[in-house]
Structure formats: C-alpha cells, structure tokens
Subunit: 343 residues, 2 copies
Amino acid sequence: MARRLPTIGDVARAASVSRQTVSNVLNSPEIVRAQTRARVEAAIAELGYRPHAAARRLRTRRASTIAVRLDPFVGGISGAVLDRFLHALTERAEAKGLSVMLYTATDAADEIRQFRRLVDGAVVDAFVLAATYYGDPRTEWLIEHGQPFVTFGRPWGIADLSDPLHFWVDVDGRAGVRDAVARLRETGAQQIGFLGWPAGSGTGDERRAGWAAALRESGIGDSELVRLTVESEDGVAEARAATRKLLAQASDLDAIIAASDTLALGVLIETAGALPVVGFDNTPVAEAIGFSSIDQRVDEVAAAALELLDLVGHAEAGGPGGHRLIAPDVIMRAQGPALGLVG
Amino acid sequence: MARRLPTIGDVARAASVSRQTVSNVLNSPEIVRAQTRARVEAAIAELGYRPHAAARRLRTRRASTIAVRLDPFVGGISGAVLDRFLHALTERAEAKGLSVMLYTATDAADEIRQFRRLVDGAVVDAFVLAATYYGDPRTEWLIEHGQPFVTFGRPWGIADLSDPLHFWVDVDGRAGVRDAVARLRETGAQQIGFLGWPAGSGTGDERRAGWAAALRESGIGDSELVRLTVESEDGVAEARAATRKLLAQASDLDAIIAASDTLALGVLIETAGALPVVGFDNTPVAEAIGFSSIDQRVDEVAAAALELLDLVGHAEAGGPGGHRLIAPDVIMRAQGPALGLVG
C-alpha cells in the first residue's frame, strides 16, 4: 500500500496545536502568534503536508465523480427535498462533465468507513454531503484527510461559518419564515402562530427564529411568543394533536406557519382548512392539495454546491469564503373553502 | 481505438436474418429452420461473435458499477416511486459490492449517447433501466452491443416476454387492481368504477385490464364496463373533472379505483371523501392523508433486478427465463368521514 499522505491532523499533532490553529496558519496567519506559527510551519515542512492535494487531483482528472449519500426511503412527505436536490445535482453535474456516484450508510461511523473505501479505491474525487448537524464527525474526517467536499447544510455549532476548510451551501430558513410572516400579514392576518419541531435541530431552530424575529419587530414580547407556538414531532397525527394544543392556548390565531409540509398538513386537516397555513419545502403534497409553502430552491442549491466544488482548494486567506446562503421562496396559494376530505 | 467487438446486429446483417432469429439460434435453435441456422452459425463463427462478452466482464471485475438514469424532478405525487426504487436499489447493490452511478438524458436518443459514453469510458458494467415503453429503442441498443442490463418494466409490445436477451422485472398491476376489486367487495362495495389514464400506456392499460377482468368475472357486460370508467390525464384538477363526468354517467358507484394516487386524490377532493377510493403507488400522500393504495413493493423489485443481473449471460435455452413479475400489495386504509379540507 502507498504511503499515506500527511493530513492536517498529523501537522496539528506534530506541532502540538489544534487543527483549527493549523487552518488559521494556512489561511489567516496574521491571527496566530508568531511562535506558534513558526512551530506549525516547521511541522508542515517536515511532514511535507500539502493542503487539498486531493482537490488538485479533482481539477486535473478528466472524468470526475462526485459521491452523494442516498438514504433508505423512509416515507413521509418532507424527505422528498433531498431527492429533489439529488435530481438537480445530477443534472447540473453532468452538464459540467461530472458523474454522481451513490453510496449508503447506516450512521456517521459507517459513512466514514464508506469515505475510506471510496477514497482508497480512487473511485470518487469529491463528496457532497447533505443534512449536516451539530458535532458532525463526517466533515471533520474529510477535512482531516484533505478530501474536497461541499455540504448542503451549514457547519452547525462551528462559530466560524466562513472556515476556509469547510465549503457549504444552505437555505436561509430564518429569512424564509420571516418573509412568510410578512406575506401572511399582507393578506390581513394579525396573530400568526408557529408549529415547530422540538428545539435542538439546526434547521428547525432557524425556522422558529425567523418567526420570532418577525413578531418581535412588531413589538410582541417573549411571553406572548411562548403562547403562540408549540412543538411537534414531524408526523401528521402528532401535528394534529399539537394544533389542538396550540389553538387551546391561542384561540385568536389568524394563521399558522409550520416547520414542514407534514406539520402543515396536520394543521390543515385538524382545522378543516379554515386556518391559513404555510408549510416548508413546497412538496408535491402542498402543490397537489393547494396550501402555501416555503420552497428551498434546491436547483440553486445544487448549482451553488457545484460552483463551490470548483473553488475548493482555491480559497484565499481573507477572501470571500466558500459558502452560499440561498434565500428561499414563499409560495402563497389560495386555500379553498372547507370542502370535506378525511378524518 | 480498439477494434469494436461484433454485435448481434453484425451477425444478423452478415446472415441476412433478423436479430430475433440470431437470438433464437443462440437460445432456442430447435425452432429455427436448419438452413437458416447453418447460415447464422457460419456468420457467428466468421465474425467471432461472443454473446454477452460484457456480461462476463461484469462477473470478473471486482468493483462493479451499475448505471441508473435519474430524470429531472417533475413534481407531482406519483413520480416518487422511481425515487423509492433508486433508494432500494442503491442499498441492495451496496450489500453486493456494487455501486450505483447516475446519469441523465433528455430523450431516448440522448440516453443512447449516454450508453455509448459510459460503455466507451469503461465506467459502468451494467445498466438498470426504468419506465420501459412500446418500441423502446434503448433495450434494442443494449442488446445489440452486448451490454448487460435489466429493466424495471416488461418489454412492452414484444410478443416473447421470455426473450433470453431481455431480462426484466415488473409489477403485476393487473393482479394488483384485481385484488383491489376483491378487497373493496369485502367491505360491501358492489359498483366499483375505474378512473384510468388514456389508453396506450402499458402500465395504465394493465391496471384497467385488471379491473375489467374482475368485473367480467362477476357477469358484468362490456357496455356496463364502458359506463363505469373514464379516462384522465395524471393531474389532480384533471381527475376532479373526470370524477364529475364519471359520477354523472354512474351515480350508483360505491367505490372508485384510480390508476395513480394523483388521480385518487382528485376523486377524494371532488367527492369530499365520501366515496372510498383506491390509488396506485402507495405514495407518502396516501399514507399521510389516509386513503387506500396499491403498493409496488419496490424493495422486492430492486432485489429481483439485482438477482437478474447476476444471471445475465447465463440464460439457458428452455430455462426459466430472466424475468420476474412481482405481485403488488393492496394497502387498505380506513377513510375517515368528511372533515373539510380544501376546495
């Protein structure tokens, strides 16, 4: 087996510093103490570390392949957004001469085993990861091993969102929900509630924050915010129960924004369509039944992911950084009068 | 460039016979006239034609890759079944050490260009095609060029469904709809209508045929069958209009079977949930809203497709043949009372 190329982790260990410090030396040397910088630079020279060796390989190979994880089909309404992203990515990749290779994984540890297999087999040249989360060990591994990658999803929990080692594209759910509040107000709604996921998911918390920010701007206080929102797991039955709870504590609601189309469907069924609702993801269900929803514009997300892959390894210290935050679209639909559907 | 390997088409041209005749000589020589057989065998020997050279390559290569076409996301409810199939195929392929590579194509001619690119680049070892149709030129090309493939979808319009050169797996939509009629009768329904796609699509015609066969068995005549069915394009609005037409000509209906969940949703909205409906594909929408639907069991389809890929090139004359017809599941759900949803 060929000798393993040194990683950023090897440099960090040799210099007795953190990986972040090595990253800083490479990208923002002015913020690192001179003594530390000298130690890191010595370790880099000694080990022969080359940042993004694999990124250069990506640009020089003629037939390039991107690996994308495809999860088991889990049912439900909202999961379709990642399928839509895959469709858009595959089409746009092909237009750039890139192919998409799929892999599966049962958990993060298994996914890292898959990274190893794909990298060792020289089968793929870059990774596109979706659904990042707090403390995601996958991006850590890819950075450590100099593999080019882009994530659909920001690096949750990392203070420096412009880390030049982590290129990402994400949808600004906070801005989307804020816009939805404004659009509902244009239709005359005054009391606007929020049906969200339990706290702790990055995307769900951002969506709730957009709603809270819009309400605070119009002078609504914290205790009132608490009254106007409830949490629910992402299922139709759970959303119906949560809607009953929400209406019990806030019978004056004019409209509800939900963190997903699944939750929105629960609101719709529970209220017999009487209360305007805005979901999230603009799924085929929202289109077919006819209710408002926030569209993630996955086609733009795919385009941005591929643009960023071109840039991996080219990031300049102090440059614009390798990330894109896409503003979603609020798709308003006229919700018909109650007509009777199911119980 | 390497000399092109002779194809079955080259043999057919050299012997002045059809491709089917060459296939027959290879697989069912007893049905071919002795004189013709001799001419074909001479051409095979002269050209050095080896059937399924690529199939043998598939079995000897260690890292094998299957190509699957991924179409642009078109919205709608029913398209999700091919995404579900892709998820199942990717998982099961990986368990067998196979990877899935995606490609896109704008039409059949473009798809054949993609075949050529993938074959010339030695990028993939076999193809899994979905959505076969009458006069499908893609399978013709793959057979002609000795490329191992399996289709999800039978070879529509080909009389010999057990052609040893075309391995396929399909879902028995006719049996599924027949079962649905029986299940609806168990619930007390007597007059069961059918909302189908316009005639001419293989899958749609099979589904309608299952309904018609079940009704004929209980003594219902042809003119009555005409009264109990209408056609609709696959959209919710179109299905609502078609439902009005169907109920105008058959106000005595107890239940409706629809060729898709999209059509079923149109029935459901138009009838305010009052009439039991059975859709097709058991989509997330059917599950979330709660109506009956026929499930294609795509996981079994994926398993069968991979089993068949193992067999490509091993088909024996007079053997069991390389195809599987999967019986779908009728998922019956209690449709709640009208509760009011949208207009």
